[in-house]
Symmetry: C2
Subunit: 292 residues, 2 copies
Amino acid sequence: MDKATFDAQYQTYLQAVEDYLRGLFTAKTDYDQIFTAMRYSLLAGGKRIRPILTLEFARLCGLDWHKALPVGCALELVHTYSLIHDDLPCMDDDDLRRGKPTSHKQFGETLAILAGDALQPAAFELILSAVDLRDTARANCALILAKAAGADGMVGGQVLDTLCHATTQDQLAQVHRLKTGALLMAACQLGCAAADGDELQLNCAKIYGENLGMAFQIRDDVLDVVGDEADFGKPIGSDEACGKTTYVNLLGIDGCAQAVERCTVTACDAVATWGDDGFLQCLAKSLAGRNH
Amino acid sequence: MDKATFDAQYQTYLQAVEDYLRGLFTAKTDYDQIFTAMRYSLLAGGKRIRPILTLEFARLCGLDWHKALPVGCALELVHTYSLIHDDLPCMDDDDLRRGKPTSHKQFGETLAILAGDALQPAAFELILSAVDLRDTARANCALILAKAAGADGMVGGQVLDTLCHATTQDQLAQVHRLKTGALLMAACQLGCAAADGDELQLNCAKIYGENLGMAFQIRDDVLDVVGDEADFGKPIGSDEACGKTTYVNLLGIDGCAQAVERCTVTACDAVATWGDDGFLQCLAKSLAGRNH
């Protein structure tokens, strides 16, 4: 797949995701400041990698990808809630997110916590109300999301990242496998599950998502050292400033580049023999070489 | 049903719920401080009204009630997460809960927020992994929970309670219908849904839960004025101290007693013609007359 075709397909998915998300939480109620806060963070942009992965895996498994929009967007709700809570004073204490004040800076801590709390069940509601999917597919998707978002997934990773200090490569890999990997893996698997995919497909999706997530995180650590602040969208050197062990400490810049390459090849191999027309391989390669 | 029979049945349910909850989150992992925090709040006792309602409604709809334990206990996870987050400094700022330090006092704010965050998806996982239920029942139950726990349910009620000031009876009713009523209604409906109950049963369950919740809240407001601190388990007069409008302000003590009576009769009527052998009526009456 050439870059122009990839970009066009990515834009098509991105536009559909943005349109879907923009339609959420528009009701007028006596408590609609919660919806304002939910939409503020949800509609702040971003690459929307997770829902786009879901849509492409659903398409590869034979489903009209539009039918997987509620499932993919559910992931974006969970991702958004995690960012709102991660930014809180007692977590990473960040004032800015994507160039805008973080939720608690904009709305206060009370509403920020509640907006995050409300985005979680809303994600499950989206999946479980997805009328274009079969009952079994809905239940399977909701279960995949529950596991990925829970203590043995994203929240466990946040516990390790915030309260523990990873110093070995194994420990670091565990933090990232849970904190960001679990949701990326789920994104791929949810596409398959929405399309009633088989075990083999789910397993390929898992390998792709796992390696994509690992490459993504290693590249993130590299950009934190060598990146351009304007491109990267966050301050360079922040990991070192707060004393975090990163892949750059453990592997060096060259070692990181090799590890990203290895993960990207593994991810691409997992889907190469499986009807992928190149979109997933282009996506993995573009993330591996990204500057932001 | 006489009181001894009611008490015995309540104890049977309660014991089953406690046993089930005690079996959760026991895995040893590198991040198991999150499980310690989740269990600390989950196993702190309480009346367990929500899961017990689920079990009894499941039984009335013809299901072996043991099979509904994951569904009922899922509600207790959501209820527990809501208490942990409600106690936070930026919410009600409480130091004690059921005579023990609140989660953030015991574990710090970071872990308290994360324990709450992890209890939500764990609740959905319990329901969606309930092997004794049919796929449709699992999906229906998870959807009922998602709606009750979300912005148009419990979280919306918390927004109104924390950030707005109800002054009329309609406003107060809306706060409580969302904040505590939504989860109590869901408790009743989940029992029916777990048993693949029909629309009529779901509707009776809704009326029962709604009126039980309303009576419960009005009684709570009365106990905050006339209760005995040792029985009630929280300081008397706390509503007045923080300037909250309550049912006592709006209806007076006698008016509250009449409203509790009316709601209790409506709740009992909703289930009287529907195979209830008296347990639900005894439960409604015992809550209406409770001192704690």
